[in-house]
């Protein structure tokens, strides 16, 4: 290998193949499936609801990313051949309605990035919106995880809360009330916390598989 040019050409050839096959082609293909699904919405029955319209999908994901949630929580349910995720109670969706299943590409429509995650120091969140439907539970949990889940190793996210003087009644969302120099203060969620909790409440990756996808 005596000169730079043929070497670089060989190198480029070796790199361009996997690049085309693993990245360019499947990205284009998945993109078209997702667009078709969105387009075929009318043909499907009402139960083929898409999560793309759900509130806080983008703003909540932003808070999810800032706080590194994806470093301990996954958002993917593997099919039965690749683990027991499907059988864990509450993880894969509404079992009673026969809707529990592994996660599929169109579950992430409308998200900028699918936070599939890297490891499970905490539970999978694909269907946490079904498991926990109480916003207050989430606020309490984010503010003081061990008060809600004994033995949890999740950090407390004090940065998602702010302290303000109690005016009249204590706010419904207050997670704590403290006395400081005779006056009462309440700890309430910030806008970020509301976005994050809205995002978690909407996390339902068990929508019925649309006919247009099932046919493929």
């Amino acid at each position: 290998m005596n000169s730079l040019k043929p070497f670089l050409i060989l190198l480029a050839l070796a790199f361009v193949m996997p690049w085309l096959v693993l990245i360019v082609y499947p990205s284009a293909k998945l993109k078209s499936i997702v667009t078709e699904v969105a387009y075929a919405k009318e043909d499907d029955t009402k139960d083929a609801v898409f999560p793309s319209g759900r509130p806080y999908l983008v703003s909540g994901a932003r808070v999810y990313a800032s706080n590194g949630c994806a470093y301990c929580h996954t958002q993917m349910i593997r099919p039965t051949y690749a683990g027991a995720d499907r059988w864990r109670s509450g993880w894969s969706g509404r079992e009673e309605d026969g809707l529990a299943r592994e996660t599929l590409p169109f579950d992430y429509v409308g998200e900028k990035y699918a936070y599939l995650g890297v490891q499970r120091n905490g539970p999978d969140l694909s269907n946490v919106g079904h498991r926990i439907q109480d916003a207050k539970w989430h606020y309490d949990h984010l503010y003081n995880p061990r008060k809600v889940v004994a033995g949890s190793i999740m950090p407390a996210f004090a940065n998602l809360f702010t302290t303000q003087p109690v005016v009249g009644q204590v706010s419904e969302l207050a997670v704590d009330v403290v006395d400081r120099g005779g006056s009462r203060y309440e700890v309430v969620p910030t806008g970020d916390a509301k976005a994050l909790v809205g995002y978690l409440l909407g996390m339902k990756k068990d929508q019925k598989v649309p006919k247009s996808v099932a046919a493929k």
Partner: protein
């Protein structure tokens, strides 16, 4: 490569000139890299601690595992690994191309920009602008600057190769070129795909996992392998055992690495053939790993015991063995029976660490122990401290990798047993994660001794007697030191 005879005087003068031209840029890259390494070790320790004592920083917002861990990881990759790689690659390329570095000042400036960009990137994670995409955590605005800074550094490496006088190329040069060619490509691809508007969200995660694998095996690994292929023959005074095997190792790495990575999402919401292809490709990475280890063992044959004396040889040899171990572990976690338990647990991080730390970092240490005396003109102050550095690093990384894999096994088995409560998985993993903190503590200690010695070398307070290179143990009778002794004579 070197033989046991003394090099010609002209050669010695040229080498001395090359080393002098590289002194400031290299010392800059090595010391700043070592600084980031210390920070990363500290954060590795602290983040492991927060997994056991989650209320540790309750009073301090932002100091949560979700931010500390990515800062630790990105400091390790972009602060330490990339910069150590710049230094080693520059030196190897200059020596092998027999070219003096023409513009050290520009390089030092580019190095400052790199450090600034990394600092801003890490701060962006701390203050909530991080992306939570492993290895790509920096705020997206940082990517173009990082890339420009990268190119303005490696352009000198390519330049030295292009203007070399001899038309042949040693395998180390090929490795380095492949690395500097591949990084801009994968970095642009990953950032371009991930930060584009639209596109399938799941493919972005898949691309991320592809990026990590390519960073390890096609950006970092080649520099370490290039260094090994230089150090082992140099120290033992023997030519590479089989040059054909070296070429096979190189081209098989180039051919197969691009296909690896997506096996990290086995059963994920991406087309199932992507992880399958990734798993198959990772098996083929055994070819370059075996080729390298076999080639080195054969090159060192009969002089294997020298790894007890030469710091460079010992670190580099440990690194190559760790490369094979890392690749083998990666093959295992990419197969369905093992992967369905170990994936999505601590284990993947442990296996990555065998490659990043056990292999790449240890080899870089070896290269730095080899290079720095040549560019500053004095010897490492204390062999015993090098020994300390080696054992604490080796035990540290071994412990970390083992405990992360054990933690993964513990977590994975509970998760696989779907009737057990999830919190049991957390409890079972915890003791291993405590041990993880101890591992990072050991590594932190070893790196303090490393940076202390490096600091002494930078201010040229090394040994200046005629004893020859600093060795880990007292040198044996037949130990080869000619090259260094004559070089120093030429520099004086």
């Amino acid at each position: 490569m070197t033989t046991d005879t003394l090099p010609a005087v002209d050669d010695v003068h040229l080498r001395a000139r090359i080393d002098r031209s590289l002194r400031f840029p290299l010392l800059f890259f090595f010391t700043s890299a070592a600084g980031w390494l210390c920070l990363s070790s500290l954060l590795g320790f602290v983040s492991a601690l927060t997994l056991n004592v989650p209320e540790l920083f309750d009073g301090l917002p932002y100091l949560q595992y979700g931010r500390l861990y990515p800062i630790h990881l990105n400091a390790l990759v972009y602060g330490w690994a990339m910069q150590a790689g710049f230094g080693v690659a520059l030196w190897l390329m200059a020596r092998l191309s027999r070219n003096v570095l023409r513009n050290p000042v520009t390089l030092v400036v580019a190095g400052h920009v790199w450090n600034l960009v990394v600092s801003v990137g890490l701060l962006s994670i701390l203050f909530g602008w991080g992306t939570s995409m492993p290895w790509l955590d920096f705020h997206k605005g940082i990517c173009p600057v990082l890339l420009i800074s990268y190119i303005s550094i490696v352009i000198w490496i390519v330049g030295m190769f292009a203007s070399r006088s001899e038309k042949s190329a040693f395998v180390s040069q090929l490795y380095i070129l492949a690395s500097v060619f591949w990084f801009p490509w994968i970095y642009l691809t990953a950032n371009g795909f991930i930060h584009q508007d639209g596109g399938a969200a799941v493919m972005k995660s898949a691309v991320n996992s592809w990026y990590i694998s390519n960073m390890i095996y096609m950006v970092l690994a080649p520099i370490a392998l290039g260094a090994s292929y230089y150090i082992v023959p140099k120290v033992t005074g023997r030519p590479v055992f089989s040059y054909a095997l070296a070429n096979i190792g190189f081209w098989s790495l180039v051919l197969f690495t691009g296909w690896t990575g997506m096996s990290r999402y086995m059963g994920g919401p991406i087309p199932a053939w992507l992880p399958t292809v990734g798993g198959a490709a990772s098996i083929f990475l055994l070819i370059p790993a075996l080729a390298v280890v076999y080639n080195q063992v054969k090159t060192m044959e009969g002089k294997l015991a020298w790894a007890n004396y030469s710091p460079a040889l010992r670190f580099a040899f440990f690194g190559s063995i760790a490369f094979l171990v890392g690749v083998a572990l990666n093959v295992m976690i990419s197969t369905l029976p093992v992967g369905k338990t170990l994936q999505l647990t601590q284990a993947q991080g442990g296996i990555d660490l065998v490659a990043i730390y056990g292999f790449f970092t240890m080899t870089m240490f070896g290269a730095i122990y080899f290079i720095v005396p040549r560019i500053v003109g004095c010897e490492w102050p204390n062999g015993q401290m090098i020994r300390f550095h080696f054992w604490f690093s080796a035990y540290g990384v071994g412990a970390i990798a083992a405990f992360m894999i054990f933690a993964g096994l513990a977590q994975g088995h509970v998760i696989a047993n779907y009737t057990e409560e999830f919190i049991t998985a957390v409890e079972r993993g915890k003791p291993y994660l405590a041990a993880l903190a101890i591992g990072w503590f050991l590594i932190g200690l070893s790196n303090l001794s490393f940076i202390a010695q490096l600091g002494l070398m930078v201010i040229r307070r090394g040994r200046r007697d005629d004893e020859g290179p600093t060795l880990i143990h007292k040198k044996p009778e037949d130990y080869f030191t000619h090259e260094l002794v004559t070089e120093k004579a030429a520099q004086a």
